[in-house]
């Protein structure tokens, strides 16, 4: 197997003291960020991104992805011990995890959560290892029209399949796409929407926007809530771990089903939130005694955690192979790639083998090391919650400011970050989703460039998007997805009439 040899090569890239140390630091920082109230995966990665600006790309991505794995693990701690989901995708974990903690089985619940997270990610990483190189080499044949069709598909599926109100998804996405147009237009060389300002000439930086939208706005939102909490502390002993692991094979169907759901929803922009709920609901539906769910059943922890992590990890597959992020965090990692001077897309597999395979190998190693770390350090991290928020909030604000400033060394970016913080706060409260905005900000320029390059190539003939089977079917699928709500409504109106 070619992939296997390349994976070994990836491990050889990783096995230096420097990178192993960075992995450890990343995992610990990630768990810390995941445990803190009001912070989580995307926020943590966005805030800690500036740490990596001066690193080489491989060290940088290894550290950042470890922060991500750590944050995923950390979210489970607060869900189970405090009934506070650190992330939306941990909500389903609280259903059975918190009751287990109340019954004095916190250690079992935590072990179950961590182990099933590990299994979910592991399945997803296997998928990435063997599928991503193939997709990438297939995508190497893509020209601008194919790429535009894929971008279009991503955007349309957000609008058509998202559960938010449609006009709000469209507002969020078109605003993001508009903002990417600010500054110098690379195709024609003209200035757009700068209004004579030299600060706007550089455009709206994606990472600055993300730090504001996720970091600052989250602090504002967290402050609104009552921050008192009451929960359980837990120590995990080896005996409990072994007991849970012995029980685990009995639930192999649940684990496998949740992994499959997670991988599918991670690659398509369904996301970890949908995956965790779907994993939980399906486990409940297929169970013999449905009533025991929600009262502290270990399967109710296995199912959502496996699905959430499979989804969170497999979201990196389209990012690596096509340059299209499958989740908010993947979008931020993609932004990081550009800062480190890499060009995301299928060429990564050819031009930066050490980077790609180092990253994939770090997913294996990071998950194993992460599992060991969380199992051994839970009491320590649960105690982090004792630190008052009044001490943590200003520190997070300072970290955000450092991040926003360091990207382009511009004071203007600090103000932009504040503005995005307020925008994010308002949007979240009135239900305008931030994911389409993030996606649009990171993909906007590339989508527009590929459209205009296709137009130049085809002398302005729109039929280029149906010029061959591949591009034609992707474009058609995109349009179908965009109008999916209308189509399914019409279908439902016709069907009863036919009966």
């Amino acid at each position: 197997m070619e992939a296997f040899g390349l994976l070994l090569y990836g491990f050889s890239v990783l096995l230096t003291w420097k990178i192993l140390a960075l992995m450890l630091v990343g995992l610990l920082l990630g768990i810390f960020v995941g445990v803190l109230p009001g912070l989580g995966g995307p926020n943590g990665v966005a805030i800690l991104l500036p740490l990596t600006f001066t690193m080489d790309p491989t060290s940088a991505i290894v550290m950042l992805s470890c922060i991500y794995w750590g944050a995923l693990f950390g979210g489970a701690i607060t869900s189970i011990l405090f009934n506070i989901p650190g992330e939306a995708w941990s909500v389903a974990t609280t259903f059975d995890g918190y009751p287990m903690a109340q019954q004095g089985k916190a250690a079992e619940a935590l072990t179950a959560a961590f182990t099933s997270s590990f299994i979910g990610s592991f399945v997803a990483v296997l998928l990435i290892t063997f599928l991503a190189p193939g997709i990438a080499s297939f995508a190497l044949k893509f020209g601008p029209p194919e790429f535009f069709a894929v971008y279009l598909l991503t955007f349309c599926s957000f609008v058509g399949l998202g559960r938010e109100e449609k006009h709000k998804t469209i507002i969020s996405m078109s605003l993001g796409l508009l903002l990417t147009g600010v500054g110098l237009d690379t195709v024609s060389g003209t200035l757009r929407m700068t209004f004579g300002s030299s600060d706007l000439l550089r455009g709206v930086n994606f990472l600055v926007a993300v730090i504001g939208l996720f970091g600052i706005s989250e602090i504002l939102l967290t402050m609104e809530e009552r921050l008192a909490l009451r929960g359980h502390s837990a120590k995990i002993s080896l005996r409990v771990v072994l007991k849970v692991w012995k029980e685990m094979p009995r639930y192999w169907v649940t684990l496998l089903r949740s992994s499959a759901i997670g991988c599918w929803l991670g690659i398509t922009p369904g996301g970890a939130i949908a995956a965790s709920f779907m994993g939980y609901n399906l486990a409940k539906r297929f169970a013999k005694d449905k009533d025991s769910f929600g009262k502290g059943r270990i399967e109710g922890v296995f199912a959502p955690e496996t699905a959430a992590h499979a989804s969170g990890t497999s979201a990196l597959l389209p990012m690596l192979a096509l340059g299209i992020p499958g989740s908010g965090t993947a979008a931020i990692l993609l932004g990081g790639l550009m800062v480190w001077g890499l060009n995301p897309g299928p060429l990564l597999f050819v031009e930066h083998k050490d980077f790609v395979w180092g990253l994939i190998a770090s997913m294996y190693l990071g998950n194993v090391v992460g599992l060991v770390i969380v199992l051994t350090t839970v009491p320590l991290f649960a105690a982090v919650l004792r630190v008052p928020f009044a001490a943590i909030a200003p520190m997070i604000i300072v970290s955000c400011a450092i991040g926003a400033f360091a990207i382009q060394n511009a004071m203007f970016d600090i103000w932009l970050m504040l503005l995005f913080g307020v925008v994010g706060y308002a949007f979240k409260k009135i239900g305008i989703p931030l994911a389409p905005l993030t996606l649009a900000l990171v993909l906007g320029n590339r989508a527009e460039d590929s459209f205009r390059l296709s137009m130049i190539g085809a002398n302005g003939d729109m039929r280029v998007f149906w010029s061959n089977g591949l591009v034609g079917s992707i474009t058609t699928l995109a349009l179908l997805l965009l109008f999916w709500p209308v189509i399914s409504k019409a279908w439902n109106m016709i069907r009863p009439a036919a009966r």
Partner: protein, 181 residues
């Protein structure tokens, strides 16, 4: 439930916003205001792109083509949202923010604003010391010595991490001269 008291972690929040605080605005109001603001933005950007050139020449779209039509889409989506709000049956609107909540939000936002201003003159590290210490003392009501010590340690660690270990250069204001950079 059956947990012993020593197994519990309890964190109090003495300054939490009161739950019976009156509403400052409803979600509906904010929804309409945000839509109107975005509508104005769409108009402004749409006009600017129309000036840049939103036509279609022989090689495809001009520079303003995409942003112009995106402005149109944004404007239509905003109008759609506003119309939906007004056509919907009047119901008791959900609260956007209560007075007590707004107070807490401003308690973070205003210091952050001052921190950003101070950063330009005092440099990031001094400003961060002031923000952390001030926030902990005045808003967290944490003992002064604890707050000052935490703030000092935090600023020093940040300085060591970014400035020395990772070579990320931040503005240092008047302190700049001390480092000779």
């Amino acid at each position: 439930m059956t947990s012993k008291s020593e197994d519990e972690i309890v964190v109090e929040d003495p300054t939490a916003p009161a739950s019976d605080s009156p509403a400052v605005a409803t979600k509906r109001t904010v929804d309409v205001v945000v839509s109107l603001l975005l509508l104005a933005l769409a108009a402004l950007l749409g006009f600017d792109n129309w000036r840049t050139g939103m036509g279609w020449d022989s090689t495809g779209p001009q520079a303003g083509y995409f942003p112009f039509y995106l402005s149109v889409i944004l404007a239509v989506a905003c109008l759609w949202g506003i119309a939906k709000e007004f056509l919907a049956r009047r119901q008791a609107g959900e609260t956007f923010v209560t007075r007590a909540q707004l107070r807490r939000v401003l308690q973070v936002f205003v210091p952050t604003l001052f921190f950003c201003l101070a950063m330009q003159w005092l440099g990031l590290y001094v400003a961060s010391f002031l923000l952390v210490a001030g926030f902990m003392i005045f808003i967290g009501r944490i003992a002064a010595w604890k707050s000052l010590l935490t703030a000092l340690l935090f600023s020093l660690i940040m300085f060591a991490t970014f400035e020395i270990a990772f070579d990320v250069i931040m503005p240092k204001g008047a302190l700049e001269a001390l480092f000779g950079r």
